[in-house]
Subunit: 247 residues, 8 copies
Amino acid sequence: MDRNQLESLARRLLAGEVSLEEFLDETSCREIADLGDAQVDLDRPRRCGFPEVVFAEGKSVAAMEKIFEALLRNGADVLATRVSAEQAAGLLEKYPAARYNAVGRTFRIPGGGREGEGREGYEGKVTIVGAAVRMIQDVGVAGPHRLTANLPLLAESDAVVVVAGMEGALPSVVGGHVACPVIAVPTSVGYGASFGGVAALLGMLNSCASNVAVVNIDAGFKGGYVAGLIAKNMAKQRRLRDNPTSV
Amino acid sequence: MDRNQLESLARRLLAGEVSLEEFLDETSCREIADLGDAQVDLDRPRRCGFPEVVFAEGKSVAAMEKIFEALLRNGADVLATRVSAEQAAGLLEKYPAARYNAVGRTFRIPGGGREGEGREGYEGKVTIVGAAVRMIQDVGVAGPHRLTANLPLLAESDAVVVVAGMEGALPSVVGGHVACPVIAVPTSVGYGASFGGVAALLGMLNSCASNVAVVNIDAGFKGGYVAGLIAKNMAKQRRLRDNPTSV
Amino acid sequence: MDRNQLESLARRLLAGEVSLEEFLDETSCREIADLGDAQVDLDRPRRCGFPEVVFAEGKSVAAMEKIFEALLRNGADVLATRVSAEQAAGLLEKYPAARYNAVGRTFRIPGGGREGEGREGYEGKVTIVGAAVRMIQDVGVAGPHRLTANLPLLAESDAVVVVAGMEGALPSVVGGHVACPVIAVPTSVGYGASFGGVAALLGMLNSCASNVAVVNIDAGFKGGYVAGLIAKNMAKQRRLRDNPTSV
Amino acid sequence: MDRNQLESLARRLLAGEVSLEEFLDETSCREIADLGDAQVDLDRPRRCGFPEVVFAEGKSVAAMEKIFEALLRNGADVLATRVSAEQAAGLLEKYPAARYNAVGRTFRIPGGGREGEGREGYEGKVTIVGAAVRMIQDVGVAGPHRLTANLPLLAESDAVVVVAGMEGALPSVVGGHVACPVIAVPTSVGYGASFGGVAALLGMLNSCASNVAVVNIDAGFKGGYVAGLIAKNMAKQRRLRDNPTSV
Amino acid sequence: MDRNQLESLARRLLAGEVSLEEFLDETSCREIADLGDAQVDLDRPRRCGFPEVVFAEGKSVAAMEKIFEALLRNGADVLATRVSAEQAAGLLEKYPAARYNAVGRTFRIPGGGREGEGREGYEGKVTIVGAAVRMIQDVGVAGPHRLTANLPLLAESDAVVVVAGMEGALPSVVGGHVACPVIAVPTSVGYGASFGGVAALLGMLNSCASNVAVVNIDAGFKGGYVAGLIAKNMAKQRRLRDNPTSV
Amino acid sequence: MDRNQLESLARRLLAGEVSLEEFLDETSCREIADLGDAQVDLDRPRRCGFPEVVFAEGKSVAAMEKIFEALLRNGADVLATRVSAEQAAGLLEKYPAARYNAVGRTFRIPGGGREGEGREGYEGKVTIVGAAVRMIQDVGVAGPHRLTANLPLLAESDAVVVVAGMEGALPSVVGGHVACPVIAVPTSVGYGASFGGVAALLGMLNSCASNVAVVNIDAGFKGGYVAGLIAKNMAKQRRLRDNPTSV
Amino acid sequence: MDRNQLESLARRLLAGEVSLEEFLDETSCREIADLGDAQVDLDRPRRCGFPEVVFAEGKSVAAMEKIFEALLRNGADVLATRVSAEQAAGLLEKYPAARYNAVGRTFRIPGGGREGEGREGYEGKVTIVGAAVRMIQDVGVAGPHRLTANLPLLAESDAVVVVAGMEGALPSVVGGHVACPVIAVPTSVGYGASFGGVAALLGMLNSCASNVAVVNIDAGFKGGYVAGLIAKNMAKQRRLRDNPTSV
Amino acid sequence: MDRNQLESLARRLLAGEVSLEEFLDETSCREIADLGDAQVDLDRPRRCGFPEVVFAEGKSVAAMEKIFEALLRNGADVLATRVSAEQAAGLLEKYPAARYNAVGRTFRIPGGGREGEGREGYEGKVTIVGAAVRMIQDVGVAGPHRLTANLPLLAESDAVVVVAGMEGALPSVVGGHVACPVIAVPTSVGYGASFGGVAALLGMLNSCASNVAVVNIDAGFKGGYVAGLIAKNMAKQRRLRDNPTSV
């Protein structure tokens, strides 16, 4: 908010055209839940479309519970990433209804409320293509006829997430077949000169397909998040098209 | 096309339900203009939404002309990236109506036809935030109140491209204010331990904002391409909403 | 298969000159065994000369069994690489006749059939020279007279695999004595500035001997595979020479 | 001490203007406690403002005790860094009054004497801003309004220590709001292309804020030490101002 | 400014206790000179103690003039870093009174006014020790008796800047002799495995002296800036001591 | 030759069963042309199948002429690699019949004699697939249908050389379609995180296709050499098959 | 041995001027103990001054015993490096008189004979200076007066081994005080940007002292070996001086 | 000199047992020629055996002349390294009798005096083996019989300098044939994954020959210096042996 906007708003406050509460809503800092040693960003769903995600690595169970409580009190969904089995065990005692995904290392507690904010859009069309995890993908590039069989599915996606280790070439191949963004996730699967995913990361950054963007090594959550944002925004437009009075 | 689909189509060909021409259109290799030492992918607009882009680095002017001719014959727009001033000078003699962007090193010749294919959607809402090129961005992170002034513009974007050199922190800051994907473009602006853009690249890959995806160092074209795809697809939905009979 | 070839074949189908089955064999996608979460490439022996090799790292025993079954049903040999002792123990319960090589970490189940495809050529003349594993090789470069004693054996090889850690100089020495390709395998044996095999890898890539090609660090299987391909193809020619009516 | 100074002093010694003791105090090597296999620098408080700090990694408990004793005999505080839990357990048997900080891995024994030397100044105004350890900091950059709330505290600091992992952008943001040095401490918190803190380190080295200096990855002690030196020297000036006869 | 502070201020505005102008001064965005394609941060002297510094690399002379004008109009000093000889030549035509330092590549135009802001403190005691530029420093570490001669000078510094290339060991040596922060500036002087300053940078980051903080390779300006901040703040305290009514 | 072999040969010499000349031919060092400051390896055609190749980078024209003369005197072909335009101009004055390939930077003088040694086999079936040089290859991976059209040619090769820059994925794709070794040549074509060919190199080393071996970045000569060796040896077998009395 | 030398020797053999045994001693390959899967270089003491050293990492106890036996049979000392505690335990059962150094990870069995070969010279004057292991060295560079106290010892050394981790600056300091070679051994002691010893290695390679040569990270054995060679050769000359009829 | 030694010496000074001059010679700082912006270490010949060597890179001709004059005034030889052709041209105007070695980039002015100090020993037996500069070395490793011919020369060396680029394997080969230290000099000759000499450097650091120590990339001067020190010290012992009254 620049000085001019602020001046205009202040004049309207002085003129009684806006209430003090409205004035403060417009100008004050966004809501923060101050927990002493942690401050939770409660404004994020409104601003960014999804509630804050908790990075669990290196946090104690007690510290996480404190954060979770602040989020739940505000009706937000709780999602934590890179949660170890030990952390999950401790958290599940407190939140038995939560779900821990041991492979993805995510921990999720469904929130309670404030419907309409950052919640409606969990649909959309994201296709995930993976490599070097299951056998079919090990040879993804070297056996491209298998990709071919899935082209119709790819063609109607809003965004495609391609997960690949080793040389990380699969996003390039997929990128050449679709008219939507490809979010490439390099993984640390491989050995020797894969350097823990660096080879795949570099391969993806240098992709000759123009529609490939990349996230961090093993950042499956972030890859899905970006693709999900695209799909969610597209789905919102489709809903508007089908039901122009919605939103 | 898998064996079952092919068998079904072949039976319809034998039954006369599809013509040979239709059969071939469905099953044969996509159109390729074989130029001897180069084969131009003419099917790309249909498949990927944009015509093929020519990577000019290391190509002779003669080789590029050959490729351009094939594209123009098919009514496609010509766009070449990483075009040096020398290459551009040579090309402009042949294509005086083309436009060379010396800063972006792009060369563009408006195509002639096949309207309706990969052409309609060059609108959409992409905001580009840059750093370390012009002065305002040099201190983008250290002077965040300047970013604040532009938040309304950012908030209504379909995608944001953030270009930054040095420590590459700007995408994280922008990412915390928007509900759309941020496509981060690291640049080689900097010195010493910026290592030609590696510091910015790593900073962006490790962004704590979940909505940031990254492209190659100095890959401004690719960053714009991915954001453009998102915006184009969104714009298409908006057109459909406003004019449901279009497409 | 380009459009012309396809048109010609389709006309022959319409003319009854080829059967539908023959037509499909020529044009359809290669055989894939779709296992739900894995698709096994059964066409590989015909196309590449060897059946598909399973990369075991990170796969569950159950997932591997599913893949093995698909391969065995088609009469293919099963070979898995980078198999841990734990994985092997689980697999041996199911396949007691299989052989697990604990040093090479390979798991092998002899296939049952389809003789004549990718099977006849497991001979050929490959010599493997190793270093930094057993004592004689530790000083391979520093004690070259030991290499000299083995020159006659090297001279008649179709391909030589040289395995070396530390500075990775042995392939250069061997390369100067033979008239066949040397496939160099860098290993992670070493410490400090060997950087897990990077020193050996770089040494081999920069070999001043022109006949040295390199595979990944610790990629013993791949090194043997490439050399085996060369030897197999040479052996095939020798059989043809000795018995011109074979193949 | 150059030859001229030494000659002058020696002439004064010969002339009886300085005692032998005074002469030796001026010219001899600084005090070293020679412990056989270790020599403890006892002169450091006078020279550097703080007693010597013991780097514990790789030292036996017995070796450390020997060093601690020499320091304590001279009235110095004992501070050891990077002390493992095992080392601490052993040391606490001998020094039950000592304090072990398990998170910071420091071990501290309050010294006994020589007041007035390097002791008075443990006050000063250092603010520590951390990221990627507790939740509030995970999003430090992406949620800058939380930083804003703490600006008054930052503004009156003599030095600020900013601890951050991942992309390490927080020091840049803080640097743009204060008129004192920012000591940036990159941490190894992160994954994938954070490369154990390298991404954060590079981000901080390339900070576009001119008042940011950097220490080693995970070198929290050093970061605090440098900031503490600045604050201590400032505090000394303030005491002098308030009480000009002190020092 | 948090919501409570803002509410309090707004109530005072409504109560007429503060004027609209005062209200805006406290709450609005800091002063920005919007130049179209550049926004100059005019608030920096008040906030950070020094006016904004212009990073010249990659900027046109015209772009810089625009920024310089905005700064000069506000009475700020102009300082640009990494200015090439070509840029300087162009700028000197416009600003003949400016001074270009060809070795340091800085360009400086003395500002005109607003005395009392960020101007008074350009004194303080900073000692600069350099290496690998002039001969005495080439052997700085290997000939430490030369350093010894300068110890008295070092001992009374508020901060020491140590510039060194090659192995970058000099900051460690200096650090062991002083009780103030040492700001280490690695340079790209060297060859081979100095890797453009990386060896010096790593040496400084790993310094066993606890009072060494580091800036980017060849970042002489930043090294001086941090040391200058420390000295300026110390000088301010000394002035207050000598003249308690000042500031 | 070990001591036993040598003893046996020496006894036969003493017994007059072999002449002194024969004894020396068997036991002495291989032929070296000692040129003072260079020693040319004239035995290489017999030992390695091709004459010695001269690495021109950093050599003076005079030094090269000296080496060329020694090779030509012995009837060997002369081939030099990495020859600059300047070097070539100087050499062409002396050897007007030689051919300089400015793109490949090779210099070649047809030798005169010693037919039958390392000369007969310059045929064989090597297919070269290139990428990122000409347009068709820029999109090699992203437009795989173009590769498909060339499968019959690839299928009958003795070896395939695949040249690729950027992400270097093409060898994986080609490797999945052929039953012969693929020699992958990474090139430095690309920008940003291609790091001068490192991305392509890593991609190729990590190829999931087992039949891919790699040579140095931009080592087109070496890639062709290894493939040529394979093809030559295969061609020799075919000649033997067709004309068993040859060789 | 070139052809001329060989011819001359063969003529003397034919002339009966040298015996067959003498002829073979001069010309045959050096002694190798062929152990099947290992060939021990027994000629090394004569050629290189010390017997072969066994690199234990990755070898089984059985494989080492086989090699040890071959060495002991020939009267050589046995020395193995990088021997783990597990390997040592196994070897001590067989060789109870051997000595295992758990810190240095060496295993040594005194040999039995062939006195006069590579044995006499285990004296010489090597000084070892260490850093970052014991406390005195932690501050080796930052507390140089401690080094000063040891200068007389350093001054009379034939060679100095300097072991240092962290920034690896100590060799430079020592190098400036001695007229003999300094063999620098970087260690992996350190954290963060020490990168497992890389910082120390680079520091040492870039030492501004001209008499510093470097060995691998943690290669204490090699550092001592090179220094020992120098000292041994010097000691031999001193013995010759004192007792000219010796050797 | 520790406090005890100093006290003893001071007592002898007071007792008149040593003169003031003698006292100062023993205790004062070593001679330094203070040139204002450079301080020349004139004590180096006595301390280190050779006069100071000037690192020319980045120094102006005027700055070098100032340093040269100080050295020449003290009778020292002048040797400068990494001198460009431009610098040499300027220096030769002033010192026409000096010799510039354009290949080695060294500049040398014979000194005038102080015979007996650091001058007598410029003999000794150093053998230099080079690779990748002249043709014979390009294939040094791949054609080891050429090395064999030079073994007698190597065997009688006091130290061997081995210069090699590319994979840097030659030092290992040479190391296996000699009983003296091998000083390995990696060069930046090569391309692609030689990374400007890094591949050679790593190869040499990881050499399996225990007698190989390494200097910086392209540090030919340092390699020769270390070897020269060894040879000089050996030669001194030989002179003492032959003429026990010398030195």
